[in-house]
């Protein structure tokens, strides 16, 4: 069909397949910022364009329908060098983070302001009602519109975008200048899909329809006949190497319990074969012709089923240990299944597991005597809390492009852990690491999902095995069923206290469901104790932790790890205990939280499979967060006048929270800073910026120390050839570890510059300083030397060489972020509906190096946590099939679910150990919503809701209505 249209102001004539999706057509014409996050579900809005001036979803239109139409795509706004006011305002407001649909959002807000120059909050909400954002929340979109309006009207911003911190610094602690903002908001090439070669092949996976089944055989005869099929990988033609997909420092506290393709499917969606073909259509056609002969086995889906005597075993094969094998291992393995399809489980060191009881790992410990504490207490409270399986739902689903180039494997990945990707690709291909180059692109949302090497292993192997470039991209359904998720957990908490307001005993029994594989099976559940119990000044604490294999979809890393679940149980039982003791909950919390200097004996048993570091509490803004939050929400004041109607009851609740800043003693980060020959700086960071502003942090550190403006600094990160080792972005390590490495590298560069300048200027280095706008200055002679001259001479025919600083950051010091989250909810006692009227997130984050970005991350993580608490749940049927593996049914919160009054507050506490006094920010903000909302629901209507999600149906049941 021949069509004529205007695209981004240019008249075009095309001959199109009229029923081709409009989005696919536009991408084929180079408008790749028109993205797809939902396989045409009409949900996320990443595919938004304007047709004849009206915002529509291009995935829901056909190419033929734009005949005689005028189209505006997101890349038709400003470009990187010439941003529009709206694009710039979005960056300045801090909402351009992982940014997969930031261009679409910029387009929508541009449309809004053109049609309504003075939009109300409701107008903005309506405009963005078809946009899903996971990372930054929606609150600062209102700010972005306000900034854009001010700029259009007054020529400058009148509103301060975020508070500033640390007067002694010029850019650190000040809002502005996200280094990748222009590229991301304007729709420049940024993500894996933008770097795929034209001759790429496509890979799709053959997945199990059964929760547990042996593969008897795989017949690929008919599939191989499909024109364009290049290869079909099966368990029979791929390596038997056992490994795991968790991105963790080696040796990992995760069992090596899988192969690239297994002969036993352990969950619905488990991959057992992969088709590589020259077109996606051919790959799909061939996939449907692969015949797998299954031997269906009984399955287990819950911890209770997995624990039961005689339960079907998820891993029934033999076990090996790389270190610390028990003496009776041979005897143990003699009881194992001898069926080779089971494979084996290899432990790097003991995790106190027993696969013959589905036990993937365990840990037990404590301090003091809890039994005595419970016996002597004035009151005891207890409760069993259940959390469900939650998906990360990044806007960019998992994707990888891999190819062989000059005998090396090049892996282009959307990953949080490029160096772990390199190691695991090395394991599965057998190539040494010098022959593997991992390029991390911008990451369209991670939240822990991209800490696991879920698609890079197979894609890398496919490229290696075929010699052809290979692209793999998860569908949204695969994102649910074949990815990692948040571990479902059952947390039992018992607490004891005395009438004088002292917390005297805590017991936690945590049972976690790791699904079919043990990715992070110890670490995640461990966090439910290790990132919660150190909040309390309590002499008697005990925990029992057991993690079970099941046939649910896989679990793995998820922002917050196990902490949100431990916090949920602990802070709700603490609230109940306060009530039993007749003490105000706020006073009870203030009486019993830790403060600076308190020795955390509880940490001794809470290392990751080894003895933990007992350290005192460092910088701690917990009390400030609690007190300020109580003031803001008017703790103790009756809010019934804020009820939306006569059937509504209003209540308030809060929870104190903590996290970590990386893993002291385990994490490792490096960076190299070098002065270019014209006197500017390139910093090669091993860190992986996943949209969180890590590269900006590094650039700001360089700017402060080298005394040059940000535009004279380039940060190159996440490229295993071009940078130096870093364990990656997880466990809140980015700012603390990778930022720490950037600081160390910059200090070394500064030292090298002063040494070289001293030689060139014939002065003593101690008499020299670096100063703005980029020159060496002698305090003794007042002479100056420009960086250009300094570097040019150093790199001349007689020079001593380029000035370089190599920084390594490792530490045993622990910088813990603290906070308190507050909720005011209204509960309709007739319908069970819950409205979060107010949500205040207060956090001590040390020095917030990028304050506007930090605030948005707090909004994003808190909203995510509100979603987990109220709406989100992967629901399996009796056969283990996820029946809501799509965005609409799964239930992520969008702008309509955001609390009406939503505030993030940074409490100013400078840390002793973090770079420029910083701690981590984002992950901790996942931890507070469930107990804050749960306690508020109780305050409103008297019921305790002890399971996620807290639905109207559960409320009505507790109220005795049904």
């Amino acid at each position: 069909m021949k069509i004529k249209c205007i695209i981004n102001g240019i008249e075009r004539n095309y001959d199109v397949d009229p029923t081709m999706r409009l989005r696919d057509f536009l991408v084929s014409k180079g408008h790749f910022a028109v993205r797809d996050s939902d396989d045409a579900e009409g949900f996320c809005g990443s595919d938004t364009i304007l047709v004849d001036g009206v915002p529509v979803m291009s995935n829901l239109m056909m190419a033929g329908e734009i005949d005689d139409c005028e189209i505006l795509t997101p890349d038709g706004l400003g470009n990187t060098e010439n941003l529009t006011i709206v694009q710039k305002a979005l960056i300045d407001a801090g909402v351009v983070q992982s940014a997969y649909n930031s261009p679409a959002t910029a387009l929508l807000l541009t449309w809004l302001l053109e049609n309504n120059p003075n939009p109300s909050k409701e107008d903005i909400k309506d405009c963005l009602s078809g946009i899903f954002i996971r990372d930054a929340g929606y609150e600062h979109y209102y700010l972005a519109v306000k900034l854009a309006q001010e700029k259009m009207r007054d020529g400058e911003y009148k509103t301060v975008t975020a508070p500033s911190f640390r007067d002694e610094y010029k850019v650190v602690g000040k809002p502005g200048a996200k280094v990748d903002g222009p590229q991301l908001v304007s729709g420049g090439r940024a993500f894996v899909e933008d770097f795929v070669d034209a001759d790429t092949c496509y890979m799709v996976c053959v997945r199990s329809p059964h929760a547990s089944a042996y593969v008897n055989s795989i017949d690929t005869t008919e599939a191989m006949k499909v024109p364009g099929v290049v290869e079909i990988l099966t368990p029979y033609n791929t390596p038997e190497t056992h490994y795991m997909q968790a991105g963790q420092g080696e040796p990992e506290p995760s069992p090596h319990d899988r192969r690239l393709l297994n002969l036993k499917a352990r969950h619905v969606g488990d991959r057992v074969a992969a088709v590589i073909a020259e077109t996606l259509e051919a790959a799909i056609e061939a996939r449907d012709k692969v015949v797998v002969d299954w031997e269906v086995l009984p399955a287990v889906f819950t911890v209770e089923e997995a624990m039961a005597e005689g339960a079907p075993l998820v891993h029934a094969g033999p076990v090996e240990y790389r270190a610390g094998a028990p003496d009776d291992l041979d005897e143990y393995n003699a009881r194992a299944s001898q069926d080779p399809r089971e494979g084996k489980v290899i432990y790097q060191f003991p995790l106190h597991a027993d696969v013959q009881k589905n036990l993937a790992a365990s840990n037990h410990g404590g301090i003091g005597d809890v039994d005595k504490a419970f016996a002597e207490a004035d009151a005891v409270a207890e409760g069993m809390f259940q959390t469900t399986q939650i998906q990360h739902t990044p806007l960019e689903t998992h994707i990888c492009f891999a190819k062989m180039e000059a005998g090396r494997l090049v892996v282009v990945a959307s990953t949080q852990v490029p160096y772990h990707v390199r190691r695991i690709c090395s394991w599965v291909t057998g190539l040494s690491q010098n022959r593997i180059h991992v390029i991390k692109t911008r990451v369209g949302g991670g939240y822990g999902a991209k800490q696991d090497i879920l698609v890079e292993d197979l894609t890398g192997y496919a490229a290696f095995a075929t010699g052809r470039p290979v692209l793999y991209h998860n569908t949204r359904e695969e994102e649910f069923i074949a990815n990692s998720t948040r571990h479902p957990m059952r947390v039992y908490v018992k607490m004891a206290g005395t009438k004088d307001g002292k917390l005297t005993g805590i017991y936690m029994d945590v049972k976690a469901n790791t699904g079919p594989f043990g990715n992070h099976c110890l670490t995640v559940p461990m966090n439910s104790c290790s990132k919660t119990l150190p909040l309390f000044k309590c002499d008697n604490m005990k925990y029992d932790l057991e993690i079970y294999y099941t046939n649910c979809p896989p679990a793995g890393a998820y922002q917050g790890y196990g902490t949100p679940k431990g916090t949920y149980g602990l802070m709700m039982v603490m609230c109940e205990l306060a009530e039993k003791l007749g003490i105000d909950y706020k006073d009870f919390v203030l009486n019993n939280h830790v403060d600076e200097g308190y020795m955390l004996e509880i940490l001794k048993g809470l290392g990751e499979g080894r003895e933990g570091n007992v350290v005192p509490v460092g910088s701690c803004g917990l009390r400030e967060c609690i007190e300020k939050g109580c003031e803001m929400i008017e703790w103790g004041k009756d809010a019934s006048d804020e009820a939306p109607g006569p059937d509504w009851k209003v209540g308030k609740g809060f929870a104190m929270i903590m996290q970590g800043s990386g893993l002291p003693g385990l994490d490792h980060a490096e960076a190299i800073a070098k002065l270019t020959t014209d006197g500017n700086v390139i910093l090669h960071s091993g860190g992986a910026d996943i949209g969180t502003g890590l590269d900006t942090i590094s650039a700001k550190i360089v700017s402060e120390l080298i005394c040059i403006d940000m535009d004279r600094i380039t940060v190159l990160s996440g490229d295993t050839d071009g940078s130096v080792f870093d364990t990656g972005s997880y466990a809140s390590s980015g700012t603390f570890f990778s930022g720490g490495a950037s600081l160390e590298a910059t200090k070394k560069l500064k030292e090298a510059m002063l040494q070289e300048a001293a030689l060139q200027m014939d002065e003593d280095p101690s008499d020299l300083e670096l100063r703005y706008p980029g020159e060496v200055h002698s305090l003794k002679t007042d002479r100056t030397l420009s960086y250009y001259e300094l570097s040019h001479t150093a790199c001349s025919g007689e020079g001593r060489g380029e000035m370089v600083g190599h920084g390594v950051f490792v530490t045993k010091a622990s910088s813990v972020p603290y906070g308190a989250h507050f909720a005011q909810v209204a509960v309709n006692v007739k319908t069970g509906e819950i409205k979060v009227q107010k949500f205040y997130a207060l956090q001590d984050a040390g020095t917030p190096i990028n304050p506007e970005i930090a605030l948005c991350q707090m909004y994003g993580a808190a909203l995510k946590s509100i979603g987990h608490s109220l709406y989100e749940d992967m629901i399996l049927d009796e056969n283990g099939v996820c029946i809501n593996a799509n965005m609409t049914d799964y239930g992520v919160p969008m702008i309509n679910e955001q609390p009406d009054d939503f505030k993030s507050v940074l409490v100013d506490i400078k840390d002793e150990f973090g770079p420029m006094g910083a701690k981590s920010i984002s992950e901790i903000a996942c931890n507070g919503a469930a107990p804050a909302i749960g306690n508020a629901i109780h305050d409103a209507c008297g019921v305790w809701i002890r399971s996620w999600p807290m639905t109207p149906e559960k409320i009505l049941k507790e109220l005795g209505k049904i």
């Binding site: 009229p18 529509v56 979803m57 963005l128 309509n896």
Partner: protein, 263 residues
């Protein structure tokens, strides 16, 4: 080979182009959507038929062109508030810019945004057959005999300008599929109660209609009526709630709408 996409400029052109091999398409939010119920890859698009985007008023009624989008109707001063209440059930503005009233009726999903409200208002649909002849029938009749009208084009919808209708929707989030969409209308003292129940269907509640029309019922009586109505054979649904919950929800929802209508 038949054309895969015919873009009609008039309703007459559309019905002439309709064959057993293609389907009508308007906004595309159902036909083009992942998991669509529309099993066809050839289309007759009525998106650009000008007459089907018109809203015309007469003394008592409003005629709404079937290709009017939800948002066009929300922006129209002629569309009554009771319909706007239901149009807002589609939370996404961008989808409201695409989805059409005719499409919502034609697909008649059991989580339909508009059908319960239109039924409660006593709406009629104007159908055009392949010869270009038009006729109006009640929406209820259209839905009951939908298979016989599958080749007919809905060109417009006729609704009363003033009607006492309340609508309610219950869903996990604003964007989730509705577990139920309910509407209650009253005209000359006679009530019309209907709900679209996800994974169950479109249900008219005759007993409730009769009891309400006969005289007042209390909230508790309405809740009890649904609780004990064996004809509502809901079962526990993992996604949309237990049977007891959904029956209770139906009861309390109708009770609240009844109170509002009375008020």
């Amino acid at each position: 080979m038949a054309e895969k996409l015919i873009i009609a400029q008039s309703a007459e052109e559309a019905v002439k182009a309709k064959t057993s091999e293609n389907v009508y398409i308007a906004g595309g939010t159902e036909a083009m959507r992942l998991g669509t119920s529309v099993d066809c890859d050839s289309y007759v698009s009525v998106r650009k038929v000008p007459a089907m985007h018109q809203v015309r008023t007469s003394d008592n009624n409003i005629s709404i062109g079937a290709a009017c989008t939800f948002q066009e109707l929300l922006d129209s001063e002629d569309v009554p508030e009771y319909l706007k209440e239901a149009l807002c059930f589609m939370a996404s503005r961008t989808r409201r810019n695409m989805a059409t009233i005719g499409g919502n009726i034609a697909t008649c999903r059991n989580d339909s945004f508009l059908v319960p409200t239109l039924l409660a208002a006593g709406a009629e649909v104007c159908l055009m057959d392949e010869s270009g002849e038009t006729k109006s029938i009640g929406l209820e009749s259209y839905i009951a005999g939908r298979s016989q009208y599958k080749d007919a084009l809905i060109v417009s919808i006729l609704i009363p300008r003033i009607a006492a209708v309340k609508s309610a929707r219950s869903a996990n989030t604003a964007q989730s599929h509705a577990r139920l969409t309910a509407a209650l209308g009253v005209k000359d003292g006679r009530y019309y109660a209907v709900a679209a129940i996800k994974n169950y269907g479109l249900v008219k509640f005759g007993t409730l209609m009769t009891r309400l029309s006969q005289g007042g019922l209390s909230e508790d009586e309405i809740v009890e009526l649904f609780k004990n109505d064996a004809k509502i054979a809901l079962t526990d649904d993992r996604l949309y709630g237990g049977a007891a919950y959904r029956k209770y929800l139906l009861g309390i929802t109708f009770a609240q709408m009844y109170e509002e209508l009375k008020g």
